[in-house]
Every structure is written in structure tokens, then in C-alpha cells.
Assembly symmetry: D2
Homo-oligomer: 332 residues x 4
């Protein structure tokens, strides 16, 4: 069994990692780290009560990772950089899956401009692999550090990749995206209170959301209006992608998507007769893509569960690849 | 007091009409008609228990309208046509606000192609006025038949009208819209069940929704991708409108919208710093519009309550205008 | 016009006060006080955008109350005591409606044991009137300080008052109550986050909730199991009251409730054939009571909107009475 | 592999059976029957898209069951009786788990009085075993027909069983229960529409719900007020049980419950410090029980997922026992 640690187990992605890893046949949860709930395993998700094999929650320190083969960093951006650089000095063999944004962008400059903070680990940034298995399977399999993609970024990039070598690459593209509230994390903000989210719907960060950086980097599309919204549900992202184009008939479009993803077990291309519905992906690691060609428009719906394919599930998928397991191990 | 009847009081728009008219100082609810809940006033919305001034619910017949000054038709399309043509023969002075789609489109051909059914009252269709007060105030004031706009159509048209004389008129425009579930009405469909809507989100009628016909007719924009979605909330519509254009600076855009709507009490143009949120309009007759210019894009958010400005509130606004009252009477 | 101030306008009860008072014909909102959103009127509820008659939000100080006739204290317990005692020294004529718990209990000892803190204003405590108009109308009309009841307490006491002179007074009584999440206020607690409340249901403070003190004081029932729950909705309380008793036939029970509340405009006793539903009271100042006698049990459902009859609506009802207005002014 | 059929796959319990059985290592889904969605496998739950091992949906006929070892009947009451009696004539070896109410009650008279319809299969009724493994494990293991308990009944009975030999058996007991809306099934009723359930809360069948019959039969408690409510969530039941009694200290009570359920893998007795929360059981086959002794009251919270332990999960648990598998197979 691979011995894994999780840093940041009090948040939603940390707890989702535990949920899935408890059922994983080849990775065991060996250490749980948290600053906010150290020693309080009881404050882990209430539905873990029937699992008594979980270790206690400890304060993180680098020496506690000596016996680990793998660590998942479920921490905010900027926290991961400091940990990775220290960890690499003491344990050269450990594999790291970082769920923060710190190693997703290829250049220090882009990172600093989008995140308004200094990057302190350019070296590892150069070696990190962007953890989208549908694009970087081989590089992930030999990486020591994988930067798990952003949730919105995963949905948008998977929806656009088959088009990225097309004539559309320079065209204006609208992506109207909607996310469940777990995407905002467990931090205490007024905008995340039940009474502020329930029975309403809102837009935010129109045209300025940070995941735009990953989208541009990974697809090459540059004239994109990415417009995110907050849904009054716990989990799920729908990215609706619109391009004004008559380049493809519907069958050509569908064929192109089918072909692109035929060997990828977690991308389900559904026929255009399907109505996109987040129930299709909730609590699964699947990305459902429904491409349509309608009256001079290409419309692509891309659906994921933001906590699974958009975070913890994809992190495990990456870990599976890093250790040579079938990528679906523990995820189906 | 104007004596008003409501036909179709069992549905959500019928009940919303009652709610607002009970507080209206110049219109009294004189007759309630329904086929499904005839004689069962108790099946009206449970929150009407404290109003004992409501008349009994009757089966509709044309002679029961002889003493009415005004009737609201809250019935499905095709039902309204038959009623209007008969009613006009017996009561030439009654004013009619039709909340169905039967008289919204200017031509029989367009109606028949969008609604797949024959139009049997071309005469009244020619005389009906499209009931968007922000565009047709004068015509409404002298009309005997007003066709109340569709809910999505109201949000989209109000969001686009200030741009309809611009260079954008021939450009590709994306409208990604989201509606609360009351927009689907009270009819028994599996897709309207609580367990099918709650905690999920879905798209439907992508590019083929019937309200597109009203949108094109009233704005002149022709290359529009209208993509509606179903929100797990009761009421509210957000239409997010996207155009790739650098024609306006943000201040020019805001000025243009402010100017266009400065005399319209129910359209609130908010500065671009606001985040659109359906709580801004829920249970009000207001349309909130937030125009933004971002990096080569014009983005306009248009918000309404689908049961108020998108249906029953706008119907009362139209009735106010038809009878020479201030258009806000009973609505603020 | 009565000049009113509101202290604590950033919270849900403060904002609900504004919403109702903006429509009140005899009370004008003259001053808004808040420590957290001082100077930021824009952070008031987003749906206030169309009201420009609101004053700016100021930091509270006692001298800013010199010109006020009335002040509503929408602050946490312990904060109100300090304000009331200071305010009485400088403005003997101001009327105060305190929405906190500080003046609800008749004895300093009871207060201190339930709230685990010292009471510093025994003098005003002795003069304060418990603001349940259905019980203390006359005393409220001449009070300078009214202690607005707790939300759960209002629902429970109104449901029990007609039985408080019966043989049941010493019997064991179960009250299983459920409240919308606005009852927890707007403070930042993990348990109030959307993802913690949505799509689930939980019990808390079983048998130990502080509102038990008001319940016992005002009804005389002493052997009560009060068991509150959190509902995944914004507003509304259902208190289900159960007593094992065959003392009354259903018609006797209904008659007793009808008689007790016949002159009280905000209590609606509905026949036992009705199914209690929070939609009956949402956004109204009504308390709906449905008494049933079933197979040896008396069951009483008592429903209110926790932010209206359970807080701000009742506060305005009390203010109406204090100033000699009809108690329903601005509330229907 | 055991070959299983499911009759009634269009409903929520039918679809839940499929969800769990697709992961079951020893039972394979061999036949799917439905009258409403015959031939339309695509109308099965949208999240089944990635399972292509499912058979087509057929119209039921008894001869199609010849090769089955097991059948689950997920049909309304009265439908099951006709099917069971016919099926037994043609396939004596098939095991049947009936999720309807037809075989739950021990006597024809009780059934007929609670369900207002004739029982046509008294013979099988006498042989059927009440499918609560925590009480009837041995009988289930040798039964050919198991009557799967009602959802509310499961929660209430498990919460009361440890007390059923106590002095409380004749005392008045209140059970205030709350269920997610999937408990109302997928049939088209106005009361199940999203807009009727969302953002509200209601009581129904107070004191007259049919599951009372199972409760009395299986626990012996006779003076019970069972008061069900509808929650605006998809799944989950909380039964809050209240008895006025000082017979047990909290530690005695907890010990009694711990002892009673120590060998039952799907009942989790949690210490009284826990706050009952439906997230503890959602999507699991666990029943969580939290017993408390508070000031002269015994309070027991019993939580299940109504579609799992309250229906399809328990049905599979029963099937596991009937075929000699570990009862947790495929359920953890």
C-alpha cells in the first residue's frame, strides 16, 4: 500500500480526499494534517463516524512526512509553495499532488500577475506538471510534483481541447459557467452563508476570474469571456461554451469529440439530444461533454463535480498515474 | 374601482395576480375563474387565508364578464385566442391583458411556425399591443388587448433595447439565461418534481426556445444564441448577454443605459461595480440592468422576477396604463 | 411622523425592520446605526437599491438619539443593557423596543442562570414589558421599554396560551420546533455556511435552549421538552406541540382557541383540516395556529415567520401600540 | 452470481436498487421491468450513462422470471400481492424482496383496515418475514418472501427496540418525524412539485400515517403520536422520539443501546454529545441513533436515508441474508 498524507483536512477538498481514499485499494491514508482541527478527528465530516481506521489529525511538520510516499496539499495558494520547497529538501522520493494554484501556471510572471503575490519556488514551478491526465498522462506518470488544475479550468479546458487546433482559436468565445457553493471553500465569508446563497443566484468576477490564466495557457484560446456564477447547490460545475461558427455539422462536431476522448475513461461525450444536468456527474469523477451545432453556433456543455473531477478525484487520478496504477483505481 | 376578473387562478401567475391586486387601490378582484379548482377557494395559495374579500372561484363563461372592466387571461397559449374572440363579441368595452403567447407576435405566420398550431384570431392579433411599457407606453394606453410579454423575453429585450440602434445589431450575441422553476408553471410534469430540480442545474431548449421570436421581433437582433437553464429556486431570471465589441467604454455604455431608462420607474440601471444577484429583484416589479465593458466585450446582466415583471406585475403595470393610472399603482 | 432609529442594521432583523418601516405610514426611519457597516449604506440588503430616502449608516452614540422618538435595538444580548441604561439618562421620552434577550425575563437571577452573564440594569428590567401584544397589550401601550420576545418563544407561547389555564399545566409537553436559518443571524459561523445547512437537517440544543425560560415564565407550563431543529430554508418556524390528553373534543379545542384569539388580528386559528405549511406565514406578521385532538392527544401546530412575528414585525407591532396607532399599521 | 430482476425501475427506489446493485460483487442485475419506461433505458437515472452492462427495460411477465434467483418488487401496494401469488406458482425457488406494504403486517384485518383495500394473498402473508435484519435475521435467512419495512417504520422501530422491554411500553410517546421528498415517490402530484416543497416545510397525516401499524406491531408501544413532516431535501429521515421518563440515567440509556446494537453493522449508536444531522447517513445504509436522557425525559434521535436503509439498501441487506452472504456485501 502507498502511504499517503493529506495536508489541509478540515476543508471540503481535504474531506473529499478522505472519502475517496478510504475506498482506495492501493493507497492508505497514513497521516492527516491540519492547523485548525489538530487533534479533533471528530470535526472531520460527520459521515466518517463508521471508519475507525483513520489516523489522528496532527499539526504538520516536514519530518512527519519521512515515511510517506505521497502527499496531497489541500491548502490555499501561497501556502503550498513554502511546503513544497522545504519538503523536497528532506524527502526526495515523495510524490506531491498540489491542489492549490501555486504550480499550475508555466511562468512566474503570469502567476504573479494573476495572483498578486510573489512566487518563491520557480525551480519546482519549472518541473511541475499540469495535472490534467487527458492532456499530460505521460508527463504525470514521471512527475514528482503535479499541479492539480482549478475546478472551473478543468471543465472549460476539457470542453475546449478538441477545438483547440481548429479555426476557432482566434474567435471570440463566451463561457458562462456556474458552480456549486463548495467551490468557495469552507472559510467564513458572509457571501457563503446559507441565507446569502439559498434561493438566489448571482454572478461574480465577470471577465476577471483567475482560472482564465489556466484556460489560456492550456487551450491557446485567447479571446475568451469567462463569466462565473454561484449556484445554490453544494457541488457541480456547468461550463456553457458558445462560439459563433458554422465550421462543423453536428455530426462532424460529435465525431471530433468522440475521437478525441475515446481512450479517456473519465470523459463522457454524450449525443446532442441529451440535456445537460449536473445530476449526471454529481459525486463522480466524470466530465460529461455535450457538443451541439445549432444554426451557426457551436455550443459545448461541459459538466463536472467541482470537488471530484474538479479537485480531489482528479488528484487521486493523478496519484494513480504517478504510481503506475490504472488511472480509474478507487474512482469508479 | 375598476372591476377585474382573472381567468386561470389555479396557476402561479394567476395566484401572483391575486396577491398584488389585493393591495391595489384602484382595481378590485371581482371574479375568479378556473376549470381545475372551481368552487374550491381553499385551494388558492395558502397565504390568502387572511383575505376574506375574495370572490368564489367559478367556471368561466363569457356572460359572467358582462360587468367587468378588465380581465387578465392567465391561461396556456391557444386557450386565450378562443376566449378573446368570443369575449370581444359580447363586451366591446372590456380591456384584456393576455398573459399567454397568443397575441405577442406580429404575424400569424411567425406564430404558427414557432407554436406549431393554427392562429384563429388574426384580426385581434393585428390590433393587439405588445405589453412592454418601456417601449409601447402610448399604444398600451389606448389598446383594448395587450399581449403581456414572455418572462425570458422581458429580461432579454430590456437588456438589449439600448443597444438596438447600435452597430451590434448584426453581430453574434450570446444570451445565457437562467430561470426559477415557477417559470415552468404548475402543470404536473416529472421534470418539475422537487427531487428532479433540487440540488441540481440543467439546460434546456438550447437555441430553440420560443421566446426567441419575441426577442428578434422587438430588438432587431437576429444572430442570437439564446440558451435557457433551470435554476433550483422558485422565482427569478438572470439573462447574461455577451457581445464581442470594443465600441463603448464602460462609462459610455452606462451613460447610454442610464439615458435610455431614466424615465422608466421599473428599470434600475446599476453601476458595473454591482454583482448581479436575483435577491435584488425577487418579489418586485423591477428589472435590474448592470452593463459592463470588459476587455473587448460588452456584458449586460438583466434581472427580473419571472412572476412579477416577467408576468403578473407587468400585466398590472399594463392595466394601470390602459386605465390612465400611474403605472406604478399597486406595484411599489 | 414618529422619528425612529435602528441600532444594528447590518443583521437580518435590522434589515427586516428597514424593509417594513419603509412602507410604514406613521414611522420614518431617521437614523441607522451600525458598527460593522458604518458609512456603507451600499452593504444594506441589495433589494433596497430603489429606496433613496434612507439615511446614511452611522456609528452609534447616545447624543445622536436626542431627536428620536423611538429606537429599535437589533443587537446581541448584553449589548442592549449598556445602551438602554445610558440612553435613559439622556432622553427620558424615547421609547425603546429591544429585540435582544436582555429584558425578557422577569428576574435577574433567571437571566443570569440562562445567559451565563451578569445583568447590569435590574432597574429597567423591572420596568420592561414583555412585548407579546396578545398578552400584554395594555402594559405595552404605556411602556417606555418593551422586550421583544424570542422567535421560538413567540411561536410556542402563542400555541400554548389558550391551554395555560387548563388541567394540562402540569403535564409533560413535547415541543418539537424547526426554524429557518436566518434565526441563527448573520454572524460568521461554520454551522451557518451554505454547504453545512443545504440539503440536510439537524437538531441542536435539545432540552437546553434559552427560549425555554420565556416559555415557562409566560405560560406556566413547567414540564416541557423543547427540542429545536435547523431547517434548510431562510425563514419560518413551526412549533409542533404534543400533550397526551383526552380532555377536549376537537370542536371544544377549536372553540377554545377561536375564542381566545378572536380579537387578535395577527393570530389566525385555522380548522384542523388544514395542513400546517410555512408558506402560510412567510413574509407576514401572522401566527397561524392549527389545534387538533387526535386519539387521546392534543396536537397544536404554531407557525410564524421568525424574522417578522418572531422579531421585526412584532417589534413594529409593539411600537404601534406604544404610540397609540392601530397595531396593524404598516404590517398588512 | 445471483441473477436478480427489479420490477418498477422508473421510481426512486427502483433506481436506487440499480445504483447499489451495479457495485454488488455477488448479485447481477439480469432483468429490469417497468410499465412506464419499457424500452427506454435512457430514461433511467441520468447518472447511469457510464454503465453499459444494464439490460434493456422490459414489460413484466411472469415467464421472464424463470431464470431469476431473486426479484425486488419496487411497486405500489396492492400491485405486489398479485405478482407474488402468480410468481410463486411458476417459480418455487425464486426469492422475493417486496418493497411495498403488502406483506408487512401480520394480519389480513390490520392490513385491510390501514390500507382500505382487500388482501388477496393471506397465504403468503402468513409466510412472509418482516425484513428488519436487526430483529429477524434468522427468519430472513430462510424466507422466500421478505416484506421490506416502511421508511419511517425503519427509523422509528430501530429507535425504539431497545426500550420495548422497558416500563415505557405503556407510556405516551411522541415521534415527530421529518422526511426528504423522495419518500413521496416519483408520481405526479401537485404537492411534490418543486415550487410547492422548496423553501418551506409542512406537516401531514398527523396521527394517522399508515406506518403506525408497523410501529405498533414490531415494538409493542401502543400509545404513540406519530407526526410526519415533509423536508425540502431529497433524502433522509429524522425520527425524534420523546418519552417523559426518569427511569434511566444517560449512561444507563447509552449502555442499553450500545449493548442492543453491538453486533449490528448498520446501526451506529453515537454518544449524546453528537448533534443529529442527516449528513451522517445520507447515501449510506446506516441508521444513526443518538439516545439522550435530559431532565426527566428520554429523547432518542434515529436517522436513516429513506432510499437506502429505508428502502433499497435494506432490501439488498435482506437479499444478502437470504443468500447467505455477509449482510454488508455491496453496501459499504
Amino acid at each position: 500500500m502507498i502511504k499517503a498524507g493529506i495536508l489541509g483536512v478540515s476543508g471540503y477538498t481535504g474531506q473529499e480526499l478522505i472519502t475517496w481514499l478510504l475506498k482506495h485499494p492501493k493507497i492508505s491514508v497514513t497521516r492527516l494534517f491540519s492547523t485548525s482541527i489538530e487533534g479533533k478527528a471528530s470535526q472531520l465530516n460527520s459521515s466518517f463516524f463508521h471508519f475507525n481506521e483513520l489516523p489522528d489529525v496532527e499539526l504538520y511538520s516536514v519530518d512527519k512526512c519521512n515515511d510517506l510516499d505521497l502527499i496531497f496539499l489541500a491548502v490555499p495558494h501561497t501556502k503550498a509553495m513554502a511546503i513544497v520547497s522545504e519538503l523536497r529538501l528532506t524527502n526526495r522520493s515523495i510524490r506531491i499532488v498540489d491542489l492549490s494554484a501555486d504550480y499550475r501556471l508555466n511562468s512566474v510572471e503570469t502567476y504573479e500577475s494573476y495572483y498578486n503575490t510573489q512566487h518563491i519556488d520557480a525551480d519546482a514551478l519549472n518541473n511541475a506538471v499540469y495535472g490534467l491526465p487527458e492532456k499530460y498522462f505521460d508527463a504525470i506518470s514521471s512527475a514528482y510534483l503535479v499541479a492539480n488544475p482549478g475546478c472551473y479550468a478543468t471543465a472549460m479546458i476539457l470542453g475546449l481541447l478538441p477545438l483547440s487546433s481548429s479555426n476557432m482559436i482566434n474567435m471570440p468565445i463566451v463561457i458562462d459557467a456556474k458552480s456549486g457553493t463548495s467551490g468557495a471553500g469552507k472559510s467564513l465569508k458572509q457571501s457563503s452563508l446559507f441565507c446569502e446563497v439559498h434561493d438566489t443566484f448571482s454572478a461574480y468576477s465577470t471577465g476577471v476570474h483567475r482560472h482564465t490564466a489556466e484556460l489560456i495557457q492550456e487551450t491557446g484560446f485567447s479571446n475568451v469571456m469567462f463569466s462565473p456564477h454561484l449556484l445554490p447547490i453544494n457541488r457541480g460545475i456547468e461550463a456553457a461554451i458558445y462560439v459563433s461558427s458554422s465550421d462543423y455539422s453536428e455530426s462532424q462536431l460529435v465525431d471530433m469529440y468522440d475521437l478525441y476522448y475515446k481512450d479517456h475513461p473519465f470523459v463522457q461525450v454524450l449525443p446532442p439530444t441529451n440535456q445537460p444536468n449536473l445530476n449526471m456527474v454529481k459525486n463522480t469523477n466524470h466530465c460529461v461533454i455535450i457538443p451541439k451545432a445549432i444554426d451557426g453556433w457551436v455550443v459545448v456543455f461541459s459538466l463536472i463535480d467541482n470537488l471530484v473531477k474538479g479537485a480531489s478525484g482528479q488528484a487521486i487520478q493523478n496519484a494513480n498515474i504517478m504510481f503506475g496504477f490504472d488511472q480509474t483505481t478507487g474512482l469508479i
